[in-house]
Amino acid sequence: MRWFAVPAALLAIAGLWLGLVVAPTDAQQGDAYRIIFIHVPAAWMSMFIYLVMAGWCAVSLTFNVRLSSMMAQALAPTGAMFTVVTLWTGALWGRPAWGTYWVWDARMTSELILLFLYLGYMALRHAIDEPRRADRASAILALVGAVNVPIIYFSVRWWNTLHQGATVTLTGPPKMAAVMLAAMLLMTFAGWFYAIAVTLIRVRAIILERERRAAWTTELAGAAR
C-alpha cells in the first residue's frame, strides 16, 4: 500500500506546487482556471475507474471469478468519490466561467448519470444478501452502464454543449501551456496511485468480510444439521 500511497502524496504535492504557485494566471479566466488541476484529473479518473470496474465485472461474469467481483466492488466507492469531486469542482468553475453552477448540458448530465451508476451499483450489491447473486446482478448493471462512459467522453463533440471541448487529446498536441499540462498530468498520476492504494486496502477488507460470512454460513448449516 505504501508503494502507492507515498508516490500519490509526492505527485500531488508536486502537482499542487506547479498548479497553484508556478503556473501563471490565465489571461482570460484569471486564477479561477486553477480548478482545472483537480477537475480534469478527477473527471478522467471517474471515467477510467468505471471502465476498470466494468472490466472486472466482465471477467467475473465470464469466468465466475470471485476475486474480480471483489475488485469491482472495491473500486466503486473511489470512482463515486472522483465523480462527486468532478461535479463539485465543475460547479465551482462553471460559476465564474459561465455565470452558472449547473446547466443540463450533455457533458454534465452524463457525468451526473455516472454518479447514479456508481451509487446504483453499490446499492444493488447492498440490497442482495447472497454474495454470488449480488456479484452477477451488479456486474450486469455495471456493464450496461458502461455505454455512458463514451457518451460522457464524446458529448462535447456530439452535442453543442456549454462545456468546452477537449483541451488535451491523445491524437493532437495539447492546447495549453507546458507548465499547466505538467501540473495536470502530475495530479492525474497522483489520482491513479491514490485510487490503487485505497482500492487495495478496501479489497482486503472485502475479502475478510466475505470469508467470515462464508465461514459463518457453513457453521450455521453445520449446526442446523
Binding site: 486564477d31 462527486v84 485505497v198 477488507a205 467470515r212
Partner: protein, 50 residues
Amino acid sequence: MNLADFFAMGGYGFYVWGAYVVTAALIAIETVAVRWRLRAAREAARTGEK
C-alpha cells in the same frame, strides 16, 4: 507574490479554495473510512465475531 494574494486567487478564492478544500476533505474521509473498514474486518476475523 505574498500570501494574501495567494489566498485571494485574484478574487476567485471562494471558487478555487472551495474546490480544493472539499476535494481534500473527501480524500481524507475516504482514506480514514477505508482504514477503519479494514481494521474492523481484521478484528472480526481475529475474534471470530459474527
